[in-house]
Symmetry: C2
């Protein structure tokens, strides 16, 4: 087991330095690599395979709810980007600008898309004439660019992969319902597929998307108590429609502006998975999106019949699961720690003695519990352990979220919690942006995450200014 | 049927104006739309769904042969792009250049990737140390940008979607085998999934990829006899490896340069599908990649029981096929021509009389043959007609390819064929680039497509200069 220990030691302990632990994990689990383009990363096969599983799962959820995929150009002419005032103010400062095509200076510079509302609006104008053309329920999988000064793998990079949904509706009510439906899909996906419970709610005006009337958000908590904005869904009203002059002939023969939404999640989710579930031995992947769900490690593989039996089990399991049989010449210990580091949910060990007993050993990546099971029903046993891994991940993350969610009813208490207890703070708020700014300044970075859907009434007064409280807000530091 | 006729009349006849017929089809079948970014197009839901089916099919073929997907940054620093001399000469003139990030001028300008050999090489340098790290079999699905002066939907656009495979191998032999294997996968995919037969072979030195030692190509012929370069596979030798200083510790304890390949196909394939199979009624899609394989049109749908029966058939077929039941309020005639225009392979009509007879009508999009079939085995009948559609598409395209492939053994004959007979010309060639250039000039654009794998010996003399012939070349005009 010497080698196993050595490999594990390569990862900094979480408690020692969480940020270093994180970068150790992303590098050593071979999720990504740096490139010579500042702030851009390379998604390596294992990291990209996680993204492919995420895509496949979410894409099915989008299609089930009637959405269609499209592809818009990656460039936005400056004049198009500037059509909606709030929007351009929010994004222009972080755009990468194309100014030359070959040797020719462009007459108008082009932004590499930071988000595609403007492109979709331009297209909507040509394809929407009548209420019969509505709703338009579009989604796009692509990469976007936001020129970032400081970057961290998956969490903040100058280019990242994402999906952006863009929809148009006859009425405000229908668009609002879409906005909430999509946030619900994100919440279900986080819980069901990523095993991540999270707080959901509405962003304050200060924190909402540039150009939106309302922004809804999912805010999972990382293991260290820091929030990660996990996905957002925006209701635009008819603001962009007016700016882009998109109208439709309504059922009552009047001409109306359609109502719009957009919503997106990105490769940040891989960061959320790492920081929610990972431990000092590396990554732990929820079974639904793990590229390898079961790693089969033959023990004493040179002995007669071991590899044959391992291959036989692999074939049986591979009918319904993603399975890897590692019959390489690396030591068994090296393999154990390798697949632990890569977060494979279940390890299956099989050696000569197991074969004699018509059994094998299953090991859970979360609890590291070992279970001897009969080969007769290995499919059922593996499925049960995967289910158990999922349940344990949800339970642990829920416990972390609950234990690190605090309340504060006075400014003193708020500052004390912010200083001493990592995590979220539930506290009442008057609705004034000045109080948000004051709390952020006094705490050195605690911001409103959202007004949660599950709002409580902790007191009648704003925790900051003491004026009458309008909402309970969940506050926290963020990535 | 008045409406049907009207709709069909909106498409220009192929014989009248093939180019206009093409743009009519791409627009009216709602495959794409133009955007305000010159040369970039919007892939609308129906066009993107074709691309999704292509991706899924090809991706499975790549994975079966051991390839893994990755994602590289979309930007290439100028210094990286210029590391391989031939490569940069080929691509720099058509690069889009990013020069600003927000308000800050970049110290080094960045090309939006026109292709990613340089990025892959930079990464290979960090992940390849030993023969144990080889082969690296990577693929990437992404968009690339090549600043084009004149553009046509799908065929030539400034941004397009594609896949680019990039692999590294221990030996030249292994890399050459990979290059040919991937061209073989393209050939199989074209024939099996797109129903497109094509000539395959090696590009002449003049036509090969910038930086490659050898380029292999698949060259389908469009209905009008014009070639479309349908996909290429390149063998690089160790040229890039040397330029990027990528080495590995070999089995014999020496330090060696690995051998490299790259290969790609793009959304151009959608152009190939349109121009190979389409007719005066619009698109015809091969069943394997058709977003809708069967369109169910209820006849007299207001009559009792019609929609229920149509829905029941839909549910039965949808277990294995992509089916759309159109129960909208449009007329039956409109629906017929709509799904013809969109190239749906099989139409299923069902009305009160059919239901009485426990039958329905199947109509082939290719031959427009009608077949009355029993509802008892509708699944089998539909599958058989889809198979028939596929076979007919292959037969028609093969006939077109054969009929429009001519031979020439003298310059006079070559020029006569080039002038009067659209299609390919098989003719002998001395191997001299001067003859390629002379033939292109004399014919106003006929170029070497490839030296086909199925080479023939038509004569001993170069068709252009009369010197001893080295190869038979297939020549033709191209998109």
């Amino acid at each position: 087991m010497a080698k196993e220990k050595k490999l594990v030691e390569q990862i900094t302990a979480m408690d020692e330095d969480f940020a270093k632990w994180y970068t150790d994990v992303v590098k050593k689990a071979e999720l990504m690599d740096y490139s010579s383009v500042k702030g851009c990363m390379i998604l390596r096969p294992y990291g990209y395979a996680i993204w492919e599983n995420i895509q496949k799962d979410l894409d099915a959820r989008f299609k089930e709810t009637g959405h269609e995929n499209v592809y818009m150009p990656m460039f936005i002419p400056e004049s198009l980007l500037t059509k909606e005032k709030d929007h351009v103010e929010g994004f222009a400062p972080e755009c990468a600008w194309v100014t030359y095509g070959g040797d020719t200076k462009l007459t108008e510079r082009l932004a590499v898309r930071p988000t595609s509302e403007t492109l979709f609006c331009e297209h909507f104008k040509t394809v929407i004439q009548s209420y019969r053309d509505l709703p338009k329920l579009y989604n796009q999988w692509c990469s976007v660019v936001r020129w970032e000064k400081t970057t961290r793998p998956f969490l903040r990079t100058s280019e990242f992969l994402w999906q952006e949904g863009h929809t148009m509706h006859e009425t405000a009510e229908e668009a609002q319902a879409e906005t909430l439906q999509m946030l619900g899909i994100y919440r279900d996906f986080y819980l069901e597929s990523l095993a991540i419970p999270a707080i959901t709610g509405q962003k304050t005006d200060k924190e909402k998307f540039a150009g939106a009337e309302a922004t809804y958000t999912i805010e999972p908590m990382m293991h260290n108590g820091v929030a990660l904005q996990g996905g957002t869904s925006h209701y635009f009203g008819d603001g962009f429609a007016k700016a882009f002059d998109i109208t439709y002939a309504a059922r009552d023969n009047t001409v109306k502006y359609p109502h719009q939404t957009s919503w997106g999640v990105s490769t940040r989710m891989i960061g959320a998975i790492i920081m929610t579930h990972g431990d000092d031995n590396g990554l732990i992947l929820p079974p639904a999106i793990a590229p390898i769900q079961v790693a089969i490690i033959p023990v004493a593989q040179h002995k007669e019949g071991v590899l044959e039996k391992a291959a036989e089990i692999k074939d049986r399991l591979a009918k319904t699961l993603r399975v890897k049989l590692d019959d390489s010449e690396q030591s068994t210990g090296w393999k154990f720690s390798q697949y632990e580091m890569k977060g494979v949910p279940v390890r299956l060990e099989i050696g000569p003695k197991d074969i004699e007993n018509n059994s094998c050993v299953l090991v859970s990546r979360v609890t590291r519990e070992k279970k001897f099971v009969s080969l007769d029903n290995v499919e059922v046993e593996v499925a049960a352990m995967l289910e158990q891994v999922y349940n344990e991940l949800v339970a642990r993350a829920t416990k972390n979220l609950e234990e690190k969610t605090h309340t504060a009813t006075s400014l003193e208490e708020f500052l004390d919690v912010a200083e001493n207890k990592p995590g979220f703070i539930k506290a009442m708020w008057c609705g004034d942006v000045a109080c948000e700014e004051a709390l952020k300044e006094k705490t050195g970075g605690v911001k409103s995450r959202c007004i949660p859907f599950a709002e409580e009434r902790l007191s009648d007064k704003c925790v900051c200014c003491g004026k009458p409280a309008k909402h309970m807000v969940v506050w926290g530091r963020q990535y």
